[in-house]
């Protein structure tokens, strides 16, 4: 099925799939997009997939992938029957939600009728048909950087995706849930979703991404999300990544935060064989604030990489990061956090914390904090710690009659509590807490009221 017009680099799987699928991709015939795709595929083909030789990929090794290990996702993969949509929220509630199955928008499973005026929520394909200049305006361009080869690969294919646009001063009071159901295809597929999220000046939005695997099989997601938070705007951008056991989940999030704007991101990783979420934030207006935080709970041979780069480009901006991980069995966690304070970014306030709890002798954590500071009036702190469950605390709980398994669970929840405090939306915080509770190994005899506190 692969036509071989593009010369194939063996370290650049999927490049050979491009010609075969290019006439089915969204936005076909838009010349600027065709040009972009061509440039991107050429660039990706030259770079290949990132390897450990790149500094930013030192701790995460992608598996060896052959061209035909994953076939390009097709429309038929999005048609599969879905009996219940696993919303993170109360199923009976009429919350805003948009559902994608293997990247394919499923309007009949979605519920977007009650969205306030001034909010656009649709597939990338739909926006490219109706309002292509909007997409053209907000797509990020990260070509020319070898460590961003996955961005280039995505820019070439962009086979699906989501567009969210909140107009100036519009406040979306209820969260919008984006449910992505993946897997259950006859053979493993690769998808390249490209999402564009624009929250204009003074607007407010809470967006909750819910990635769920439909079965245990493998598939590959190579997502890129371009985010723009306008002056004085607020975006709460939450992710629950519960992909299939064998799934590979690669995500790049490129964020631009305006003057006095707030970007708050929290990702909970409880699924996927290998996941890497790389977030690049540029604080481009004075008084901007970003919070990139997350929690990951891993077992088996799962690997989770949270890589962040926060660039302070203007004065009086603040940034905060709290990442906490629980690692069992042979799992491996990676946190790389880089804060760059540019010359003009006086009175920057940056705080970064990475903590991991190892439940097994074989689990491994690599944390790499990095500060690059070119301004002189700056407050920046970072800390990284890896440890085990505190033996004295465990004994204390057990000496009160609490069985060991429950005592361990309580201590893990206690440990995760600090990260959850970063989630300012209290409903979402409890949703996350509940997911953590369900991850825990033994049956948990916890009283209802604890969850609500």
């Amino acid at each position: 099925m692969h036509s071989m017009n593009t010369p194939v680099n063996t370290t650049a799987p999927f490049a050979g799939q491009f010609d075969a699928v290019s006439d089915q991709l969204p936005g076909l015939g838009l010349s600027w997009l065709d040009t972009r795709r061509q440039e991107a595929i050429t660039e990706y083909n030259g770079f290949g997939l990132p390897t450990n030789k790149l500094e930013s990929w030192k701790f995460t090794r992608l598996p060896r992938i052959a061209d035909n290990d994953f076939r390009p996702v097709g429309p038929q993969d999005g048609e599969i029957a879905v009996e219940t949509v696993p919303s993170l929220f109360d199923e009976s509630a009429e919350g805003h939600r948009i559902v994608f199955v293997n990247g394919h928008h499923r309007p009949e499973l979605s519920n977007i009728e009650r969205l306030p005026k001034g909010v656009r929520l649709e597939s990338l394909r739909a926006t490219l048909e109706r309002d292509p200049t909007f997409v053209e305006h907000y797509l990020s361009d990260l070509l020319g950087d070898k460590s961003a080869a996955l961005n280039a690969l995505n820019s070439a294919f962009m086979d699906s995706g989501l567009v969210v646009h909140v107009e100036r001063d519009v406040e979306v009071t209820e969260p919008i849930e984006v449910i992505r159901l993946n897997g259950k295809t006859d053979t493993p597929v690769i998808r390249h979703p490209r999402n564009v999220i624009v929250v204009e000046d003074g607007a407010t939005l809470t967006l909750v991404k819910n990635h769920s695997g439909l079965d245990v099989g493998g598939y590959l997601t190579n997502a890129v999300t371009d985010v723009h938070v306008g002056d004085g705007a607020t975006l709460r951008h939450y992710t629950v990544q519960a992909e299939s056991l064998d799934a590979l989940h690669l995500a790049n999030v490129n964020v631009n935060v305006g003057k006095d704007a707030t970007y708050e991101a929290f990702s909970l990783t409880i699924g996927g064989r290998l996941s890497r979420m790389e977030t690049n934030v540029r604080l481009t207006g004075t008084g901007g604030h970003c919070n990139l935080s997350g929690a990951y709970l891993l077992r088996g041979r799962e690997h989770c990489d949270n890589t962040t780069v926060i660039e302070h480009l203007t004065p009086d901006a603040t940034s905060r990061e709290v990442f906490k991980g629980v690692l069992d069995d042979d799992s491996r966690g990676v946190f790389q956090g880089k804060i760059v304070v540019h010359k003009d970014a006086q009175r920057t306030d940056g705080h970064q914390l990475s903590k991991a709890l190892l439940l097994s002798d074989r689990a491994e954590m690599d944390a790499k904090p990095e500060l690059e500071i070119y301004a002189d009036d700056v407050k920046c702190s970072h800390g990284a710690a890896t440890g085990q469950l505190d033996e004295t605390s465990l004994f204390y709980l057990r000496s009160r009659g609490i069985p060991e398994a429950l005592a361990r669970n309580l201590l893990i929840q206690s440990f995760m509590g600090e990260a959850l405090e970063e989630v300012s939306d209290l409903v979402v915080r409890e949703v996350m807490r509940d997911r953590i509770l369900h991850w825990l190994p033994a049956q948990c005899y916890l009283s209802e009221e604890w969850r609500q506190e």
Binding site: S399, R400, G401, L406, L410, Q413, S414, M416
Partner: protein, 249 residues
């Protein structure tokens, strides 16, 4: 109720207890006094079942049952309680929840029905009133941000709620001012009963002015060196531990 026979124990290969004999009957309050490093805390941990302490000889019998191979949670469910010298902070776990989990764990162990939230709160209210514990202390995370006195009061509250048969109080007076000492001691005295044995471990005599023991034992160099009535504590206060600072022949 508690019979400790010729107990030898070591920590990381170092022998700490060298043949302790001690018997507590229901209704009795005993005090163990001794210089620092004499093995007092080790003894309390061995009774409660902390890992990392090896019994090399002898046994600990509780109501005729050997405790040695029992998990700490099972000992607790059987009625053994240890009030910690340094109570542990557990962020993110509200005190009330912790107490309720502990009570219900013991009830499950005995095949009893668990208390629901309402029943539990009713039971708790009564105990907190007696101990002068505020609602705020119940809502906060376990021991987080508690003063020294609050932490110790919280230990006594746990004891009151769990209703143990054997309570070991490890240096309960440490870190307490006179007022706090009185509150904590009053709490302990209220819990004295003919069905319960209490073992008070302390370095100083002052606690024993408030919790007056029936028997006092001196532990030094891993052995009970002398036993007597409450007057022995006064003698130690006066003379110090100097005469016990040499190993027994």
């Amino acid at each position: 109720m508690l019979e400790i026979k010729n107990l030898h124990a070591s920590v990381e290969g170092k022998e700490i207890l060298r043949g302790v004999d001690l018997t507590l009957n229901a209704g009795e309050t005993h005090a163990i006094m001794g210089p620092n490093g004499s093995g007092k805390s080790t003894l309390s941990y061995l009774i409660a079942g902390r890992e990392g302490y090896d019994i090399t000889e002898g046994e600990i019998l509780y109501n005729g049952k050997d405790l040695t191979d029992m998990a700490p949670e099972d000992r607790a469910a059987e009625g053994v309680f240890l009030a910690f010298q340094y109570p542990v902070e557990i962020p993110g776990v509200p005190n009330t929840t912790f107490l309720k989990e502990a009570v219900n764990a013991a009830r499950r162990y005995h095949g009893e029905e668990e208390l629901d939230a309402l029943q539990f709160v009713k039971m708790l209210r009564q105990k907190t009133k007696e101990l002068g514990i505020s609602d705020d202390m119940l809502k906060r995370a376990v021991n987080v941000g508690f003063s020294g006195g609050e932490k110790k009061r919280n230990e006594i509250l746990q004891m009151a709620v769990l209703n143990p048969k054997l309570a070991v109080l490890d240096e309960t007076d440490s870190g307490l001012d006179i007022d706090a000492l009185k509150v904590v001691s009053d709490g302990v005295n209220q819990l004295r009963s003919p069905e319960r044995a209490i073992l008070v471990i302390t370095h100083y005599q002052r606690l024993l002015d408030h919790i007056v023991p029936d028997f006092v034992h001196v532990l030094a160099h891993g052995k009970i060196r002398r036993s007597g009535g409450k007057e022995l504590a006064l003698e130690l206060e006066e003379k110090g531990y100097a005469e016990y600072n040499v190993e027994a022949a």
